[in-house]
């Protein structure tokens, strides 16, 4: 089982009323997109689901066990999170940054071994950053760092993926490649949930959507039920024109 159950969850956004509690399940094979305007609580939601901050109410279950009852290490073996922000502390190379993804799998006395290195190299190659392996992270471009962050979680090999704007800073080709990677993870039986700003990527790649409104309201369900122009226009406070291209709906903001 690789499932994430969210029960009566109210995320803790300071100064906001509770709104609608979330009850939904991210099941193996599903790709969930979280949509909402700036400040709607998308990042807060993902951090709450990863156990990095407490909810105001409700609970999160991984494979039926409450998040609060699991140790951090157990959670990290099950669930990986691609962060939106990254901070450079000390200088580190691309390869060693990907290798920290193995941390939850190694005991305290163990050193990273050949198998760990192989996983990291494979992840770097998959994200098209293997040629940068020896470079310092601080010298990378925004898009290269983004791909490295995803490669780190790929090295971590979680069964549940949470990704906070995984296509940030990426060019069109790498946007598609990253979405294909996440879809592939789901197709292999993992559960995927990601925050997105790009409606069209969500429409093309996600099978379920969660819409978060700034006032705490929310609605969720299969993507085809959620991609209603009127609901999306209310979500973003923006008029949209709709067309269908290549079998998926496309939304374009209009003046």
């Amino acid at each position: 089982m690789n499932r994430l159950d969210i029960r009566e969850l109210v995320i803790d956004v300071p100064g906001r009323r509770d709104g609608r509690a979330l009850t939904l399940s991210v099941e193996p094979g599903q790709v969930w997109g979280v949509l909402g305007p700036n400040g709607a609580g998308k990042t807060t939601l993902l951090h709450t689901l990863a156990g990095l901050r407490g909810p105001r109410a409700g609970q999160v279950l991984i494979d039926g066990r409450p998040l609060a009852a699991l140790g951090r290490r157990q959670v990290a073996r099950k669930l990986g999170l691609v962060f939106q922000d990254r901070h450079d502390g000390f200088p580190a190379t691309v390869r060693e940054t990907a290798l920290i993804g193995r941390h939850p799998w190694l005991s305290a006395w163990q050193m990273e071994g050949g198998e760990d290195l192989r996983l990291a190299e494979a992840a770097l190659e998959r994200l098209d950053v293997d040629h940068l392996a020896e470079r310092l992270v601080s010298t990378l471009s925004g898009g290269e760092r983004q791909r490295l962050a995803i490669a780190t979680v790929l090295t971590q090999a979680p069964q549940i993926w949470l990704a906070d704007e995984p296509t940030n800073h990426l060019d069109l080709h790498h946007q598609s490649a990253v979405m294909a990677l996440l879809a592939e993870q789901a197709a292999e039986g993992r559960a995927v949930m990601m925050c997105l700003h790009d409606l069209n990527l969500a429409a093309r790649w996600c099978d379920h959507l969660l819409l978060l409104y700034p006032d705490g309201e929310a609605c969720w369900g299969p993507a085809r039920d959620m991609l209603v122009p009127a609901a999306l226009e209310r979500l973003y406070g923006q008029r949209l024109a709709t067309a269908e291209i290549d079998g998926a709906p496309v939304f374009v903001p209009v003046k």
Partner: protein, 326 residues
């Protein structure tokens, strides 16, 4: 680089050899210079009684104390830097040494000596720890910049208290207090407690090394990768406090070792804490042994406080390395 295990040993072996060489040098040099042959004779249980006293009772204990204090300070500095993700952090910047100094000076001012000074310095360092971490935490977040600022302000406060104590203390106690404030190894007694502590702490930190590497990426990233962040942060802070308090009670307050040694090593060896922490113990020890040898010999038979030497060595080295790394 996450250093493969077999690559951990060569740098540590080189540093250990350098440390031994520095210890040997410090034993032969001094107001009365001894040859290596004299040292060898004493090591075999022979040699003149004077040489035996000089080496076994004076120079070896003092050099070992210097080694232990340097190692303790460098490891404490390296830990603080990981904790705050800031290469400029060090026990002195965060006010630990200030607290320890106030504790020790208060005991001296009261005319107490020996174990009371030690205990009082420990109390001061821990009070400082609680103050800095308690205030920096407050109700909100526990950000490195907030912690660093709180540390700097608390350190400034301790500085004022030290000045006040010096101002009201009787003139005959002033020279001892001043020397102690600048760092002086001539008051240190048995080198074994700090050396044992250094060894124990290095062994205890070994299994935490990889967690510390992940911590250096920031607390959220570390938590997402399975690190229990808050307990680890407290462990680092308490261990660093114990190390600093021990160093300060052994030799007074010596600056720059905790700042310069980890930084120099990181430039050369990378930033794997499993290598850096033991390397800091060895290199910090070596540096302070050499500095203390210089302090004893430069204007012999007069002695300089070793803190002056570490500052004179440390500041230009640090600036040069910083300049070269650009």
């Amino acid at each position: 680089m996450p250093t493969p295990r077999h690559l951990l040993w060569p740098p540590l072996a080189v540093l250990a050899l350098l440390g031994l060489a520095a210890l040997l040098l410090s034993v032969t040099l001094g107001s009365a210079a001894l040859s290596l042959a004299d040292v060898w004779a004493v090591a075999r249980g022979e040699g003149s009684p004077l040489a035996r006293t000089l080496i076994l009772d004076l120079r070896i204990p003092r050099s070992l104390s210097a080694f232990a204090v340097g190692g303790l300070l460098a490891v404490a500095g390296a830990l603080m830097q990981v904790l705050l993700r800031n290469p400029l952090a060090d026990p002195y910047v965060l006010g630990l040494s200030g607290g320890a100094s106030v504790g020790a000076l208060a005991a001296m001012l009261a005319g107490l000596g020996g174990a009371v000074i030690t205990g009082s310095a420990f109390a001061g360092a821990f009070l400082s720890t609680l103050l800095v971490f308690g205030l920096a935490h407050g109700t909100g977040s526990w950000t490195p910049s907030r912690l660093l600022l709180t540390g700097v302000v608390v350190a400034a406060g301790w500085g004022a208290v030290i000045t006040l104590m010096l101002a009201i203390s009787p003139a005959e106690r002033l020279p001892g207090m001043l020397y102690w404030l600048m760092g002086d190894l001539s008051y240190s007694r048995s080198p074994w407690p700090p050396l044992a502590l250094l060894l124990v702490i290095c062994l205890l930190l070994m299994p935490l090394g990889r967690s510390l590497n992940v911590m250096a990426r920031g607390p959220l990233q570390a938590a997402a990768l399975g690190v229990n962040v808050r307990p680890l942060e407290w462990t680092i802070y308490v261990v660093a406090s114990v190390l600093t308090a021990t160093a300060v009670t052994t030799a007074g307050s010596i600056g720059f070792v905790g700042l310069v040694v980890p930084h120099m090593l990181r430039l050369v060896l990378g930033n794997d804490q499993r290598l850096i922490l033991p390397a800091c113990a060895l290199a910090g020890g070596t540096l302070l042994v050499l500095a203390d040898t210089l302090a004893r010999t430069m204007i012999a038979p007069e002695q300089l406080p070793v803190g002056v030497i570490t500052a004179l060595l440390g500041v230009p080295t640090f600036l040069y390395l910083l300049y070269r790394s650009r």
